[in-house]
Amino acid sequence: MRDGGAQERGALAESRTVRWTLIALALTFLALFLVLPLLAVFTEALRRGFGPFLEAFAEPDTQSAIRLTLLVAAIAVPLNLVFGLSAAWAIAKFEFPGKSVLISLIDLPFSVSPVVSGLVYVLLFGAKGLLGPLMSDWDFKIIFAVPGIVLATIFVTFPFIARELIPLMQEQGTAEEEAALTLGASGFRAFLTVTLPNVKWALLYGVLLCNARAMGEFGAVSVVSGHIRGLTNTMPLHVEILYNEYNFVAAFAVASLLAGLALVTLAAKSLLEWRHGDALAPARRH
């Protein structure tokens, strides 16, 4: 920003006062609603020093919550990776009836409240649900058990990867794949050697977002989990339980772990955008 009078300003540039007021406003807002709470999480967690902070993680229930969260993410993210890739591939590279319906369906989890997403599974697989009797016949528990948590997480996170890939793959078109076919490659070979390398950074970006949401999801998981300590508690649910028991240090300690995950995700995301921005466009701007 050079020092310049009114003559040097472009037609769209605001005056200096307006510019700085807007920037100050945005920064204040960010500080109040993002930075401050984040700091609060870490200060609360470390209020009594490192000892109690680390002790919180020695708790078996906390450990099992962390394990469950990792397990759920380890199942949901790969499944959504496969689903997201196939959906994006189908939508971007082929014409078929019902394509627009499929696109709207992929967006559904974004528009539905997570609590409703969870309820859907309760209504479907719960004891009084549609498929409930069948489940009890087979002696297979979905609701208030790990399978329900996995299902709800998959549902809530499934748009992330597909949404990241569809615009990019649509923009890239099918010419390179067609070229691979004319050169003798099979469809699968063309996918592996041409399509996948062209979307790898966007795919990684989508996986990152999907993973962050899978680990952090509260609403949908809360409905189907049943909050059984050591069995069906994920990290976000465990934070709530600890907090309700006035165990603030432990609650914030676990919360700080989630916040740390968010920060790592953010850093990785920024790195991706910085290093491979061109390969992510046009999906990059959210």
Binding site: E178, L181, T182, L183, G184, A185, T193, P197, N198
Partner: protein, 347 residues
């Protein structure tokens, strides 16, 4: 080794839209055939049908005497060059060219050293020796298209198919590549089909030209056939910057608006269409025996000068080509005669 391509009643529709409307075409072995036509005339769809990138709604495609209609793209062994190159962005030039060899099943895949040797040979053929390590984004448009051609040639295709290969390049590069493509064709001898909407390119480069219109072929012939003996009004109007004049033929006289011109052809009578090109007109020596026409505009085109002539109310303006040193000026009246008469009965 060059093969013939035959299309029999080949048709392709996309939903209700007909792209190729049942056409027959015989491409001779080793021939360089241009598919010329306006956009939407079905020429690219025809090319993609030959490649197997589209499935025909009806008809057959034969490679020599073998029915290729049901063969998949990879089984047809065609070399296809796309208008926008379709190079693999994430691979360097050498890997792009080697792709078709590397995806072969193990028994037919050449050894690594052999692949490297073939890539080097092809790089030399397309005059890009030493650029194998570059990535497509580091090349100019003309260079990219040459890589695309090398990549297509690497798989030893039975036929070479080019979709508007020079469409995205500027005029100078186009001309150079055109000449170069002709050389490569003469050296490698593949039966080659190439799509273009540029008639100059088609007429200059190809052994024969197939003129497409509305999903059908209007005429197949040499440049001389197409230019001097257009088979249909469409061809007459499409090539050579022709202007269509509505005329009336009575006996050996053609009535053009208020004017009349003598004709030798006897097979046209009544309302007809006369196609005139800038070089069909000549300034008459005798002012009494020609059409008087007012000059409404003069412009310079390359080595010649063009004057736009007003022939009469309701008639489109026509152009006459004159020597660059002709002293014509806007507002002059020139007396002109027609030296070539291209006449078709109105339909």
């Amino acid at each position: 080794m060059a093969i013939a391509i035959t299309a029999e009643g080949l048709a392709k529709s996309f939903g209700a839209a007909t792209a190729v409307a049942g056409l027959d075409l015989e491409v001779r072995p080793g021939e360089l055939l241009a598919l010329l036509g306006p956009s939407g005339s079905g020429k690219t769809t025809f090319l993609r049908l030959v490649a197997g990138l589209e499935t025909p709604t009806a008809g057959r495609i034969l490679f020599d005497n073998e029915d290729a209609t049901r063969l998949s793209v990879s089984e047809r062994r065609v070399g296809f060059v796309f208008q926008h190159y379709a190079l693999f962005k994430h691979m360097n030039v050498a890997d792009n060219i080697a792709y078709g060899l590397r995806v072969r099943p193990r028994p037919t895949r050449p050894a690594k050293a052999e692949i490297r040797r073939r890539v080097d040979d092809l790089l030399d053929l397309v005059q890009l020796g030493g650029l194998g390590k570059r990535y497509p984004t580091q090349l100019s448009g003309g260079q990219r298209q040459r890589v695309a051609l090398a990549r297509a040639l690497a798989v030893e295709p039975r036929v070479l198919l080019l979709d508007e290969p020079f469409g995205a390049l500027d005029a100078k590069v186009r001309r150079d590549l055109r000449r170069w493509l002709r050389e490569v064709h003469d050296r490698t001898g593949h039966t080659t089909l190439f799509v273009t909407h540029d008639q100059e390119e088609a007429l200059e480069l190809a052994d024969r030209v197939a003129v497409f219109n509305g999903g059908r072929i209007e005429q197949v012939g040499t440049a001389d056939d197409i230019l001097d003996r257009p088979a249909t009004p469409f061809v007459a109007g499409f090539v050579g910057e022709a202007v269509r004049l509505p005329v009336d033929v009575a006996g050996s006289w053609i009535r053009i608006g208020p004017h009349a011109v003598r004709t030798q052809s006897e097979n046209v009578a009544g309302p007809a269409e006369l196609f005139v090109r800038p070089r069909d007109f000549v300034v008459a020596d005798d002012p009494a025996s020609g059409i008087p026409a007012r000059v409404v505009a003069v412009r310079r085109t390359g080595p010649a000068r063009r004057a736009e002539l007003f022939l009469g109310e309701g008639l489109p303006p026509v152009e006459i080509e004159l020597a660059a040193d002709h002293p014509v000026r806007k507002g002059d009246v020139l007396t002109v005669t027609l030296r070539t008469i291209r006449l078709f009965t109105s339909r």
